[in-house]
């Protein structure tokens, strides 16, 4: 490999040809500030439009300063990253960016987590000359069920555009117009609701400012908790416990299951349950469906739809409804764990504690923004009463805990309530890419072969590669499994299915890179992908620590079938736990 030698801040370094000044400096421990630039190393995601100009540095012999993020190192280069000329230029660049930015930091949803605000602090900005914008945003807000767009706060870093188009291939967002009018928006500046947006929230996860934020549902949750006539039930998704601690200064990957439960009880929820219970239930339903379809296929049924596609991820469901409506009867009909939980809580559990469904409020805590949209889908309600009333993100829960003055770090661990709080290791790993299919294999293997599975870990299904595949031996039957995370990767597998070229029996898809641990509702990673890896590790740790690691062995799941549902895929189970999908592709209307 060819290398070049250069000098950065009086120190010599040798790097591979093609390395940018920014990366070379970071190798040396020199932190050149950046705003639009973002790199998620482990996921192969990089945004470097060279647009914001915060990272300018001086290269000896060049008339102008250069942006470090897109300027490649050359032999003999002498670079200064923080001399007075650079500092002065950076300050002016920042002042220009701020001159066109609203000044409502006090009430902005991103305040305290805003990269722009942090940069203003870092560069010591105390005054903004050339202001020509009012204190508050004046452009209309775009409020969807999941995401709020406040275009006046867009600084054109284009991270969201990169996520939406390259990583997710959703194509909802694009830069439009130019100069002061420039911003990122859906086609024809329509609201997100009229675009192919999947609400995956990856745009929100990378937005450095308050231009893209989640819809805050905590005020409604607070109202429900304050209403004595309501029984308020909460469920928490697996990925939340592996990330919530970060909001309280804990190291990424710290599991806070017990503290989270204690905090939810302190907030006043009447029952603290676990979405993991519903994940076990999902495995029972989806696993049975998988075995049913494979069984028919083996008997020579040519009409059976294979591969079966997982349906837990609402961003993914939105994606295929928009992009592959012709395949809408291929995914599993099983509802997502969030919705299964809501349906069971407002039927089975409401009966058990003898209250009407109208008097129960089900709240979910999710690593996800698409879950907000999912909970509002019409088909998931009974006479206008939704199965899940409100869905809040990991970030919203953290803010809620802080508002209630709960000393999270010093809480003693508490346990989930019964019966909907009991879960297995198989359910926990739903939070990681590959986890749902691994959990399904653990159960399907034992049901299909009648043999006990000695080793429950399937290392071949784990990892961070975008598309993975493995063949699992079901006692002589080779089951081909595909896994994709990130919707661009899902698209690759889907195109094969559409073309009839797919050899898989089952495919798991998660919309967000890394799976739910990297969800759009998780604590912001600010471009550090090692955080995602630490969360994934924590999820697998939780699995190992669970006494039961197969969904069908969960005693409360068994009880649920005995007392209420009958057996997996029974008529009652179908009614409560299964759904169907819609064609949401935009049609071009032709005048007759």
């Amino acid at each position: 490999m060819e290398t070049v030698k250069l000098t950065i801040d009086n120190k010599q370094i040798e790097v591979q040809r093609g390395t940018t000044i920014l990366k070379a400096a970071r190798e040396m421990g020199i932190d050149i500030p950046t705003l639009c630039y973002m790199e998620l190393h482990d996921l192969n995601i990089e945004n470097k439009p060279g647009g914001c100009r915060i990272c300018v540095v001086e290269v000896q012999g060049r008339r102008n300063l250069v942006p470090a993020c897109i300027t490649k190192c050359e032999e003999g280069m002498v670079v200064r990253t923080h001399n007075p000329r650079v500092l002065n230029a950076r300050r002016i660049v920042m002042e220009f960016i701020l001159s066109d930015h609203p000044k409502d930091c006090l009430t902005c949803a991103k305040s305290g987590h805003c990269d722009l605000q942090n940069m203003a602090v870092r560069l010591g900005i105390r005054d903004i000359p050339n202001q020509d914008i009012s204190a508050m945003s004046t452009y209309r807000l775009d409020t969807s069920p999941s995401i709020i767009r406040d275009l006046d706060k867009c600084i054109m870093c284009r991270r969201c555009e990169m996520m939406c188009n390259e990583v997710q291939t959703v194509g909802a967002l694009s830069a439009f117009k130019r100069g002061f009018m420039a911003a990122v928006a859906p086609a024809f500046e329509q609201n997100l609701e009229h675009s192919p947006c999947t609400y995956c929230g990856q745009c929100v996860a990378v937005c450095p400012t308050g231009a893209l934020t989640e819809v805050d549902n905590t005020p409604q949750v607070l109202r429900a908790l304050a209403d004595p006539s309501k029984t308020v039930v909460v469920q928490t998704a697996p990925a939340v416990r592996a990330a919530l601690g970060e909001e309280f200064g804990m190291a990424p990957g710290t599991l806070v299951t017990g503290k989270m439960v204690a905090a939810l009880k302190a907030l006043g929820f009447d029952y603290v349950f676990d979405t993991d219970f519903a994940a076990d239930l999902t495995i029972m339903e989806e696993g049975t469906e998988l075995l049913g379809r494979v069984g028919k296929f083996l008997k020579g049924d040519k009409d059976v739809k294979l591969p079966i596609l997982t349906s837990c991820c609402p961003g993914w469901v939105n994606f295929f409804e928009h992009n592959y409506p012709e395949l809408k009867d291929v995914p599993s009909t099983a509802k997502s764990p969030q919705q299964m939980f809501g349906a069971i809580a407002k039927s089975y559990f409401a009966e058990k504690i003898n209250i009407k469904r109208e008097d129960m409020v089900v709240v979910s805590v999710m690593p996800c923004l698409a879950k907000k949209y999912e909970s509002q889908r019409e088909e998931f309600s009974v006479n206008g009463n939704p199965d899940v009333d409100f869905s809040i993100s990991t970030r919203e829960l953290a803010a809620f805990i802080k508002q209630a003055n709960i000393d999270f770090n010093n809480l003693s661990d508490e346990e989930f309530d019964r019966p909907l709080g009991e879960s297995t290791g198989a359910a926990v790993i739903f939070g990681n890419t590959g986890g749902v299919i691994e959990a399904a294999v653990r159960t399907a293997y034992e049901i299909y072969t009648g043999k006990k599975l000695e080793k429950v870990e399937y290392e071949q299904l784990r990892g961070m590669e975008g598309v993975r595949s493995a063949t699992i031996d079901f006692n002589g039957l080779p089951l081909n499994i595909g896994i994709a995370h990130g919707l661009s990767n899902a698209r690759k597998l889907l195109d094969d299915v559409k073309a009839g070229k797919s050899n898989f029996h089952a495919i798991e898809v998660m919309a967000c890179p890394g799976g739910c641990i990297g969800g759009g509702g998780q604590p912001l990673h600010h471009g550090d992908s090692s955080i995602l890896k630490a969360r994934a590790k924590a999820i697998y740790e939780e699995d190992v620590n669970k006494p039961i690691r197969k969904s069908h062995e969960n005693p409360y799941i068994k009880q649920l079938y005995e007392e209420f549902l009958g057996e997996p895929n029974s008529e009652k189970a179908h009614h409560l736990l299964h759904t169907h999908y819609f064609d949401k592709k935009k049609k071009i209307i032709v005048k007759q």
Partner: protein
């Protein structure tokens, strides 16, 4: 965005398909496709952009982004008599802006817009190479020189009826 809603006829869609095919449906040719389409339709309504996006396998958002980036592309149809006011240096110093303001006032539209009856549209341009006649106004194919704000009413009168 354009408030005009149109429904494309089958021959319109066929025409767009034909234009896209002449550039091998290659997304890299987007600007050329938009050029040809605007040449054909006179403007680029949302519906045309949607068909182009589908054909070139691009997101509609991306196509819209390109249409709004280049001032040559327009989403509003030109009027029957497109009016262009030269804002080049010579015309500008001799009062072109006042002439433009008068047209805006008389027609009740801004630059880039078309009157409700579809008769006139207003645009500004940079130097038509007739600086000796500054300020210059073009209406359709006809050139008017040394235009003063007071002349505007009379110019518009020529196109009545």
């Amino acid at each position: 965005m354009s408030s005009i809603k149109i429904e494309l006829r089958k021959e319109d869609i066929d025409k767009i398909h034909e234009i896209c095919a002449s550039f091998n449906n290659d997304p890299i040719e987007l600007i050329n496709v938009l050029h040809k389409s605007q040449e054909h339709f006179g403007y680029l309504p949302a519906e045309v952009q949607e068909v182009i996006a589908e054909r070139l396998n691009l997101s509609v958002a991306k196509v819209y982004g390109v249409v709004t980036f280049y001032s040559f592309f327009t989403m509003t149809p030109h009027g029957k008599y497109p009016i262009s006011i030269c804002m080049g240096t010579a015309c500008y110093v001799r009062g072109a802006e006042k002439v433009l303001d008068e047209f805006k006032k008389e027609l009740g539209i801004q630059v880039g817009q078309t009157t409700a009856d579809g008769k006139f549209s207003l645009s500004s341009l940079r130097c038509v190479g007739a600086c000796g006649l500054a300020p210059v106004v073009l209406v359709g194919g006809k050139t008017y020189g040394r235009v003063a704000p007071d002349d505007v009413k009379n110019i518009l009168k020529e196109y009545e009826g």
